[in-house]
């Protein structure tokens, strides 16, 4: 790595610290949210610099994209004074406590990272890669060796969506105050591209960076774009009840795959030899669809219902 690389990494690290500071300390909440989104994008760049493209994809799509959209939509629901959102409390200023505490945490993390066994588990993953059914080590870990972690992650997403939906009906979606003809046109033009990119990422996951999480996030972002462009959510209970099962499809399929392994005398999540590859592909498709719909469901901020939106005169 040349001098330019070192300078770039240094600037990137400084910018990350600065943005993290802005995201937590800015008095204007909109400023804080925008700082958080930019932080996510630069964090993705940092993962690229660390040669971890899988995490970079997930960070850009979920950390910056989906979380950013969620935060902006939450901001819209907060009470505002003269159109600006301010912190409702004074940020703590007990420097005498926080600086030593932060320093101790940083030191502890450094020590833990230093103590990790040097090559990690990379060698072992690569050694058993041919048994996993896929050619990409990250996918092998996520959906075979440590599929339990993925099961729990999707479970957390499903719990979050259920909690948000149980808080009440979805408010009417954010629409631009002055309708723009460009936005629906953009939605129509770009949605096929979103579907194509999601399918590509999903398929690519078996041999290269990609997989269910980035694919689901891209598809979910496409659905959010359509919602902003004026489309109506179609997962209302009366007409589209069965479609709601997609929300839990990923969790159900992962659970079924795990239990099937133990039923046939193996361990939890032990796939039968020979069909591990197709099993992982099916699980990826199910998980990707679920993640897309779950992110969209989170963004709706409530349960979509057949009697119009809350406050829409019903």
């Amino acid at each position: 790595m040349g001098v330019a690389g070192v300078i770039f990494d240094g600037l990137l690290a400084l910018a990350l610290v600065w943005l993290a500071w802005q995201a937590t300390r800015a008095a204007d909440l909109f400023h804080a949210v925008v700082s958080f989104i930019v932080f996510g994008l630069l964090m993705a760049l940092a993962w690229v610099r660390l040669e971890a493209p899988d995490i970079a994809l997930a960070e850009a799509a979920i950390g910056a994209g989906a979380t950013g959209a969620l935060l902006l939509s939450a901001l819209d629901r907060l009470a505002s004074r003269d159109g600006r959102h301010r912190m409702l409390y004074e940020p703590a200023t007990a420097w005498g406590f926080w600086i030593p505490a932060g320093g101790a945490l940083l030191g502890g993390l450094n020590l833990a990272a230093w103590k990790l066994p040097a090559p990690g588990l990379g060698e072992e993953v690569l050694a058993s890669l041919k048994l996993s059914g896929v050619d990409h080590p990250v996918t092998a870990v996520l959906l075979n060796f440590r599929a339990l972690d993925t099961l729990l992650e999707i479970g957390v997403l499903l719990l979050a969506a259920v909690t948000i939906w149980s808080l009440g009906r979805a408010p009417s979606p954010l629409v631009p105050a002055m309708p723009s003809p460009a936005l629906p046109a953009l939605g129509r033009l770009l949605f096929p591209v979103f579907v194509l990119v999601a399918a590509y990422l999903l398929w690519r996951g078996s041999h290269a960076p990609g997989g269910a999480f980035p694919a689901g996030a891209v598809l979910g972002a496409g659905a959010i774009l359509m919602l902003l462009a004026g489309a109506r959510p179609w997962i209302r209970s009366s007409e589209h009840g069965p479609w709601r099962w997609i929300l839990s499809l990923g969790l159900a399929m992962l659970l079924a795959a795990g239990v099937t392994g133990s039923l046939f005398g193996g361990a939890f999540f032990e796939y039968p030899t020979g069909i591990a590859g197709p099993t992982i592909l099916v699980l990826e498709v199910a998980a990707g669809l679920s993640i897309a719909l779950l992110l969209f469901a989170l963004y709706l901020r409530g349960e979509p219902c057949e009697h119009g939106y809350r406050g829409a005169g019903t």
Binding site: G83, P176, A177, M178, S180, A182, L183, L186, L189, L190, V193
Partner: protein, 99 residues
């Protein structure tokens, strides 16, 4: 370095002033509309030059086309976003500078 790499490098180099001027406009222009003008125009030209320059430097036609596709998608998204921001600002009663 062969000729194509020099041409690609030159295009990337030509793109940098557009980013600098776009950022200068964002920081120095008086209101949201003029700032959008600076961003949506200068940065997109800069991005186009950088994308085409890097594509030529890579020596692969497929990579060049992919980078141009990214640029075209960015053009569409940034034009729509700039229009939405300007419309929202206008509907909230922000008057353009000098009116």
């Amino acid at each position: 370095m062969n000729t194509w790499q020099w041409i690609g490098g030159l295009l990337v180099f030509l793109g940098i002033p557009f980013f600098l001027l776009g950022t200068l406009g964002l920081l120095r222009f008086p209101d949201v509309y003029t700032r959008l003008h600076a961003l949506a125009k200068a940065d997109n030209v800069g991005l186009g030059l950088v994308c085409i320059g890097l594509g030529i430097q890579s020596g692969s036609v497929v990579l060049l086309l992919k980078l141009i596709l990214i640029w075209v998608l960015m053009l569409i998204a940034s034009a729509t976003a700039a229009g939405l921001i300007a419309r929202t600002a206008l509907s909230r009663g922000l008057r353009p500078w000098g009116t």
